[in-house]
């Protein structure tokens, strides 16, 4: 089935998470996404968490994080520090519709590859820069990692246990969040280009992109000069609402009672007419006021129950609830499975693996699924530089000799030392609880063996 972005070419200079999530969606929608990496500085996600944590001989090809984010893209490895490398990039841009990049703003300017320059090469180019703090303003040259940007957007001040300090989420979710927005921004710019023939430049600051999530708190401050307190899993708009321990090892369920009707249904489903009859609990205000007591009652009722059974039981009674899923739980969840949240991708050096969707939308006419495996380092050097740019085999060989292009990473130390350094201390993680377990038979459990 044809995908909507077939015929659209994206020159992808992004790295790590936000930018690659943006271009992954464009690839899933059918665009030809050509990644570029530097021979001297690989995408750092090639050095994060590897298949089976085994530190094998080509760890950069066994990086799960890189693989998931870059499925279905092509890749060239070109040294932009050399003029010939920059020339190659400009030649590809001349044949592209979109350029995406995620360096700190000074980098592209230093290479003279910023929008002003690339527009001269391709006047109708659409270019998107995804950065931590945007292209101008006092913090624009700050370096930024995802783990700093959720807090810097204000979201972490709203996250935390009651009376506890602000907390980050257990991963850097504003990275994909801004990548998603970036994909939409590119689609909007392509829409405008279809109408007018004009390209443009998109400046996406991850900090700014995430600030709207604090909207209600911003408004409360604007209206009442009041700062919110952290409320754990509770809500100003639902009570009781919380996360409750179920039977088994670290199994949990969330429950949310949004109305008096929900409360009646919940009391009915739990067989507690005494709760329904209790005047303290008859209104949202009352349930908020006595929330601690309600948490005790609900915890007592649910602690011996299976979290999935309780979830189905409550939902069938019309009550909002859901199991709290681990990574394994999500992969095995029957609903996600039936709707195809995880695609099977056959990955060189890794075999068949389940890779998560980046765009949740399900379409009648096509699937926004991973378009193929992630590329190996410089896998498409020849195909892109020879095929698209018409560079001869002879020159390609010269370019390799000059290390303008390569398929071998420049390692600072011998390979085995790199591999050993990249292994994570899983024994210690199992001991302190960062990891719950490691299943040796996981491929069987996932139905891949």
């Amino acid at each position: 089935m044809p995908k909507p972005l077939e015929g659209v070419r994206v020159m992808d200079l992004t790295q790590v998470f936000a930018g690659p999530a943006c271009t992954r969606i464009l690839a899933d929608l059918g665009a030809d996404v050509i990644r570029m990496e530097s021979p001297n500085r690989l995408d750092i996600t090639r050095n994060l968490i590897h298949t089976d944590n085994d530190g094998q001989d080509v760890p950069w090809e066994r990086a799960l994080y890189f693989t998931i984010r870059n499925a279905g893209k092509r890749e060239i490895v070109v040294d932009l520090a050399q003029e010939r490398g920059r020339e190659i990039l400009r030649d590809i841009v001349a044949q592209s519709d979109v350029v995406a990049e995620s360096f700190t703003p000074r980098v592209m300017r230093a290479f003279e590859l910023d929008y002003g320059h690339l527009k001269q090469v391709k006047p109708d180019i659409i270019m998107i820069s995804l950065s931590g703090y945007g292209q101008d303003g006092p913090y624009s040259d700050w370096s930024a990692y995802g783990m700093g940007l959720e807090p810097s957007s204000g979201v972490s001040q709203l996250t935390g246990y009651k009376d506890g300090p602000p907390m980050r989420s257990g991963l850097s979710f504003t990275d994909p969040y801004s990548g998603f927005l970036g994909a939409g921004a590119v689609l909007a710019a392509l829409h405008y280009k279809r109408r007018t023939g004009k390209g443009q430049y998109i400046d996406l600051s991850e900090q700014e992109a995430a600030v709207p999530m604090t909207g209600a708190a911003l408004m409360d401050y604007a209206m009442n000069q009041r700062l919110p307190t952290r409320i754990g899993d509770r809500s100003p708009w639902a009570a009781p609402q919380g996360c409750y321990r179920c039977a088994g090892d670290d199994n949990w369920i969330v429950i949310s009672i949004e109305s008096d009707e929900d409360w009646a249904a919940f009391c009915d489903a739990t067989g507690h007419s005494d709760w329904a009859a209790d005047d303290r609990f008859s209104s949202l205000e009352g349930r908020q006021q006595h929330h601690d007591r309600l948490d005790e009652l609900i915890s007592g009722w649910i602690k011996t129950q299976d979290h999935y059974q309780a979830f189905h039981h409550l939902q069938k009674a019309g009550v909002i609830a859901a199991p709290v899923l681990s990574g394994k739980g999500a992969l095995l969840d029957p609903h996600f499975k039936e709707r195809g949240q995880y695609d099977i991708v056959d990955q060189p050096h890794n075999g068949k693996r389940l890779v998560g969707r980046h765009l949740a939308a399900k379409f009648d006419e096509f699937e926004a699924s991973a378009a193929g495996p992630a590329p190996t380092l410089g896998q498409h050097n020849q195909e892109v530089l020879g095929g698209l740019l018409g560079i001869s085999d002879e020159e390609l060989k010269e370019l390799e000799e000059q290390r303008v292009i390569t398929t071998e990473p420049a390692l600072p130390v011998p390979g085995p030392i790199v591999s050993a350094a990249l292994k994570l201390p899983y024994d210690a993680f199992l001991e302190n609880g960062t990891l719950q377990a490691i299943d040796d038979d996981y491929l069987q459990q996932l139905g891949l063996e």
Binding site: P4, I49, D52, N53, L64, I68, G137, M147, G148, V155, T159, G160, R168, G170, L171, F173, P176, F180, L187, A188, H191, Q200, Y201, I202, Q207, E208, A209, M213, T214, G215, L218, M219, A222, M223, N224, G232, D233, A238, W252, V254, S256, L325, G327, K328, A330, L331, H335, F336, G356, A360, K362, F363, D364, P412, P425, N432, T434, L435, Q436, Y442
Partner: protein
């Protein structure tokens, strides 16, 4: 004012709450005409606060005002014939329908995609629901909390001995809104090529799961089940919010932070040692081994915390950034509004509203040079009824 990138589009919006309205807010910010069809008593978010002085008023809900900027409001009773026929007229002129208010069944109203596609083959029909329109949980109810629970993010957020913690700001609502917007734009791109509209089915649970960085990945590639441990990443320490003299900072030393074998030049002092004004720290075993820092993180805290306790957040972040370490602030909403960087970029906007008065709003989430996104006030209930009367 410059033209918006989507100013040729008309969107009919039947959503309520947060997720669907955020989708259509993105459309209105980019210039599309968004006709928000509200039930006679209004979008449910008009009943949610915050309100000025905590006095409920459907025209002064902060949540509603924030999420419905730049839209037109039409009140319709979809169960009555008159309302129904006016909706059909609106749809005949629309490019996109976005539906999903958490309570109305479009099928029961005879307004499901299958009911409409015969007469309106070009319509892009977007559904935003808790679990999606197919699959075993399709009839189940949910909200941002249930989606965060399903996403794997919540399981990995919080303290090891306490309950999993959801993230503030109902992120699953916003992520689903963004995915619905992307889905609609992808379907419009498809229509431009092939002519026909289609159904786009977006669930909050899957949208939030798409933001999972590596929890499912660790199981799919390693069999490892990650669990919450003070919301900590598995691949390095410190990378965390820590307290300081006047509040909090994110301590992220990054690639240049600690000495690295083979990378750090002889005689060079690491950025963390420079920050803490003690070059000798580079000889400390915890400075020399990333693995040791992850395992002995409490000792790392004991090493760093006394320094942080003597410094103010702004000074720590600025000094660290000057040393090329990606430290970050942990602002409250007040800090954000007063932030010199966001002010220099003109991010926040003062917008007047006939009932709620002038308030500070979050600006558009990205900039575009040719078609700058913009924010304008939310409508009062039924403000545009006259414009679309039968």
């Amino acid at each position: 004012m410059a033209e918006g990138s989507l100013s040729d589009l008309r969107i009919v919006d039947l959503t309520q709450g947060i997720a669907g309205p955020y989708c259509t807010k993105l459309f209105s910010s980019l210039g599309a005409e968004v006709i928000k069809v509200e039930p006679p008593d209004g979008d449910v978010s008009r009943k949610f606060g915050p309100f000025p002085d905590d006095e409920p008023d459907p025209e002064k809900s902060g949540l509603f005002l924030h999420l419905n900027t730049g839209k037109k409001s039409v009140t319709l009773d979809l169960k009555a014939d008159a309302g129904r026929s006016l909706l059909e007229k609106l749809l005949a002129e629309a490019d996109v329908l976005v539906e999903g208010d958490g309570q109305t069944s479009m099928a029961e109203l005879g307004l499901a995609h299958d009911d409409l596609k015969g007469d309106l083959p070009n319509l892009v029909y977007v559904s935003v629901t808790a679990f999606g329109c197919t699959g075993p949980y399709k009839d189940y109810r949910g909200n941002s909390l249930t989606a965060m629970a399903m996403s794997t993010i919540m399981y990995n957020t919080g303290d090891p001995d306490r309950e999993p913690l959801t993230t503030g700001g109902t992120p699953a609502d916003y992520i689903a809104g963004i995915h619905a917007w992307i889905g609609a734009l992808a379907a419009l791109a498809y229509r431009a090529e092939h002519g026909n509209g289609q159904h786009v089915d977006v669930s909050l649970a899957e949208a939030a799961a798409c933001a999972d960085e590596y929890n499912a990945g660790m199981y799919a590639f390693q069999g490892a089940i990650r669990r919450r441990y003070y919301s900590r990443h598995v691949f390095g320490y410190p990378m965390d919010i820590m307290s300081c003299k006047d509040g909090y900072v994110v301590v992220v030393p990054g690639a240049a932070g600690f000495p690295q074998r083979g990378l750090t030049q002889d005689g060079a002092v690491s950025s963390m040692a420079l920050l803490m004004e003690d070059p000798e720290l580079d000889q400390h075993p915890l400075f020399q081994s990333g693995q040791e820092r992850m395992i002995r993180w409490k000792e790392v805290n004991e090493l760093i915390q006394p320094f942080l306790d003597t410094k103010e957040a702004k000074d720590i972040v600025e000094f660290a950034q000057a040393l090329r370490m990606p430290f970050a602030p942990v602002p409250t909403v007040k800090d954000l509004v007063e932030d010199e960087h966001l002010q220099a970029r003109g991010y926040f906007q003062e917008i007047d509203h006939p009932e709620a008065g002038e308030l500070t709003y979050a600006g558009p989430p990205f900039r575009m040079t040719e078609t700058p996104p913009s924010i304008s006030r939310a409508p009062t209930l039924g403000e545009h009824n006259g414009e679309f009367d039968a």
